[in-house]
Subunit: 218 residues, 4 copies
C-alpha cells in the first residue's frame, strides 16, 4: 500500500521570464515525506485549458489528500494564501500557447466562485510565527493562476476530505535585478514557507481554521 | 408618473476620518436628472447588517433601474470598478457600531460570489477616454464595502433588468495631507467620474459589455 | 517703474508624453499679480545645457525676487518641495535633444550640492493646512530637473535676497489613464498649490523657515 | 605587520525593532579575510553625535583602506548604494538617545554634501550580475544614517586613498511579518551582497567607476 499523497503543482515560466519560483519550489519538495504523506510535484503549462488538463490527470493518478497549486505573483512581497477563485478568464497578456481570453467563464455552468478549503488563516499565522512574511489574498487575478485555482476547486468539490487551495509566491531575487524597486523573496525562504504551509494544512485536517483577523486595508 | 430612478449610495465616514468621498459624491449628484432618469442618493451607515438594512429600504422605496453603491478605498489612486462580491465578512477593524466579524458569511445560504451586472469594461474605457483614471478591480475587500456589494447583488438577483454594482473611490486630497505619500483624487474629478459612469451604464442597458482586456498584472 | 518679478518656470513634455503639468501650471499663473509682485512664466526645454541657457536668460531679463522652477515627477502623488540639488547629471533616458550624460557634473567647478533657499517646511505646512497633499523631498533625481535646480541655485548664489528653489508635481489624471495604478493630481489643485506656495514664499521673505519635522521614513 | 583593514559598521536596532539587519551583516562578516584585507566590524549607536563619536574612534584605531557604513531602510526592497550625503539632520522620530534635531547641519562649517567615494555603479552592476537586487539611491534620508554617512565622508576627506560610503539594506523577513505588504530580504542574501560589494570595491581601488546608467525614474 502506498503512502497518501500531497499534490504540489508549479507553473512553467511565462511572460518572458526564464524562471518561475512556483516550479522551483514544487521540484524542491518533490518526493519529500511529511509524516505519513509523500509530496508529488507536477509542473503545469502556463496555458488556459491545457493547465487544467494536466492538473486533472495528476488528481486522477495521485488521488491526493491535500493539493496546493502554486503560482508566481510578480510585484507581491509576501507568500499570498488565496481565499477565493472566481469564474472568469481575463488575460492581460497572451498565455504560453498564445491564447488571450477576455471575460470568459472558466466553466460555463460553474458557480461564480469557490473558496479555498485550506486553513488559510492558520497557514498565514503559522508562517508569520516562523518569521516568514505571509498574508491572505482576496484575489488570485484573472489569468492562468485563477483559472487553475477555480478548476482545482471545481474538481475537488466532488472529493470530500480533500484539502485544496492556491498560494501565490513572489519573484525570486534574480528575477528583479532588472526590475528596479520590485520586491522579491529568496528561494530558500519560499521553499521553507511552502513546506511549512503543507505541514500546517495537515495539522488542520478535519479541524476548523483559526478565526483571527489578519488583514490589510485593501 | 415619476421618473425612473438611479439609486446612488455612499458611506458615512469611518476609521477616524471626518470625511468619506463616497458620501460627498452621492450627495453632489442627488436629484440630478440623467436623460429620463433621476438620481436618488442614500448614505449608508458603515456597519455590518445596518448598512444592508438601509440599502434594502432604499431599493424597496425607489425601485431603481440602476444602482451603484460607492465606497472609499484608501490607498488606491483610481476609480475602481469592482467585478465581484464574495460571501465573506472579515473585518480588519471594528465597524462604526463596534462589530468586527471574522470569516463569517454575508448570507449563510448565499452563493460564494456575485458578479457585478454593470458594464464594467465599458465604464473603465469611457472614464479613461475622458481622461479619468480608472481600472477594473477584482476585490472589494472583506469589510463593509464588500458586504454591501454582496447584499446588493443578492437583492437584485430577483430583479431582472436592474443594473447593479459597486465602485470604490480614492481618498480626497484633504484626507491624505497627514498620510504622506498616499494617493488621492480631487472631489470634482470623482463626481465627474461617477456621473459619467452612470451615463455609460445607461447607454449599455440591454447591451453586452465591451470585451477588452484592461488589466494590471496583479 | 515695473513691479518686482516672480519667475516661474515649467518644462516642455518629455519621455513621449504630450503634456507636462509643470508647463501648464506656469502658463496658468503667467501674468498674475501677487501683492506687489507679478508672475512671469517661462517654459524650459527638457534638455541638459539648453534648459539652463534659457533659465539664465530669464534670470537676467526679469531680475526676479523669487524663482520657482517646476518639474514633473511621475509616480509621486504629492507636491514635492525639493530640499537639495546635487552636482551630477545621470540620465536614465535621453533628453529631448538626444543627450544622455552619465555621472557628469552639472558644473565641473561647482560644490557637491546646493540647498533650496525657499522656506520648504513653511510651504509644506501651508499646503497641508489648505488640504493640498505636499511633502519635502530629499532628491530631485539626476535628470534635467535636478540639473536645472542645481544651475538655478548656482546662479542665485551671487544674488543675495533672491529666494529660489524647485518643486516637483505629479502626473495629471489624463497622463495616467494608460498607466494603471499610478497616482495623479488634478491640474486645478496643482495650480492652486503652486499659487499658494508662491504666496507662502513671499510671506517668509527675510524670515526663518518653520522648524518642524514633517518627514516620511525614507 | 597587520593586515590592512576594511571597516564595516552596522547600527543597533531602533524605532522599536528588536533587530537591525545592518548589525547582523557587520557581525556576520567580522574577522573575515578578503584577499590581503581583514574585515573589522563595529556597531554604532542609533544616536546623533554618539554614532559619529564611535565611528571616529574606529577610523582612528583601524586606519581602514575601505569603509562601508550600513543602515536599515525599511520599505526598500533592494540593496541601496547611496550616492550622496547631505549636511542636514532632520529627524522624523527621536533617536535612541531621545534627540530629535530638526533642520540642523551635521557640521556647521561643512559643505552642503559629500559624494560617496565607492564605485557605486560597479557595485550595483556586480550585485545584479550575481542575481542580487540592487540600485543606486540618491538619498540616504535625513536621520542618523545620513548623519553618519556625512560624518564619514567628512572624516575621510583628509585621508586620500580611503574608499568610503554608505549602503542601505532592507528589512529582514521576520521584521515584516507584522507589517503586511512590506518588502524584505533574507539575511543570507544581505550578507552575500555586502561581501560581494566589499570585493567589488577592492577590485576598483584606484580605478574609475563604471559609467553606466542604471536608474529608476524617481
Amino acid at each position: 500500500m502506498t503512502a497518501p499523497t500531497i499534490l504540489l503543482t508549479g507553473f512553467e515560466p511565462f511572460a518572458g521570464d526564464a524562471l518561475n519560483p512556483s516550479a522551483a519550489i514544487a521540484l524542491a519538495l518533490d518526493g519529500t515525506q511529511m509524516g505519513a504523506y509523500r509530496v508529488q510535484a507536477r509542473i503545469l503549462p502556463c496555458a488556459f485549458g491545457a493547465a487544467l488538463h494536466v492538473l486533472q490527470q495528476a488528481l486522477d493518478s495521485t488521488a491526493p489528500a491535500l493539493v496546493i497549486c502554486l503560482g508566481q505573483a510578480g510585484g507581491r512581497s509576501e507568500i499570498s494564501v488565496e481565499r477565493v477563485a472566481i469564474n472568469v478568464d481575463d488575460a492581460r497578456i497572451p498565455d504560453n500557447a498564445g491564447a488571450q481570453p477576455v471575460d470568459e467563464p472558466v466553466l460555463a455552468s460553474g458557480p461564480a466562485a469557490y473558496f479555498s478549503s485550506l486553513p488559510i488563516k492558520a497557514v498565514v499565522a503559522g508562517l508569520r510565527d516562523a518569521g516568514l512574511p505571509a498574508s491572505v489574498s482576496q484575489t488570485a487575478g484573472t489569468f492562468v493562476c485563477n483559472h487553475v485555482f477555480y478548476g482545482l476547486m471545481h474538481a475537488c468539490a466532488g472529493r470530500p476530505g480533500v484539502q485544496a487551495g492556491f498560494i501565490h509566491v513572489p519573484w525570486l531575487p534574480e528575477q528583479v535585478v532588472h526590475r528596479p524597486g520590485q520586491p522579491s523573496m529568496a528561494l530558500a525562504l519560499q521553499v521553507q514557507a511552502i513546506q511549512r504551509a503543507l505541514a500546517i494544512c495537515l495539522e488542520f485536517r478535519g479541524v476548523a481554521d483559526l478565526r483571527q483577523t489578519q488583514g490589510r486595508l485593501d
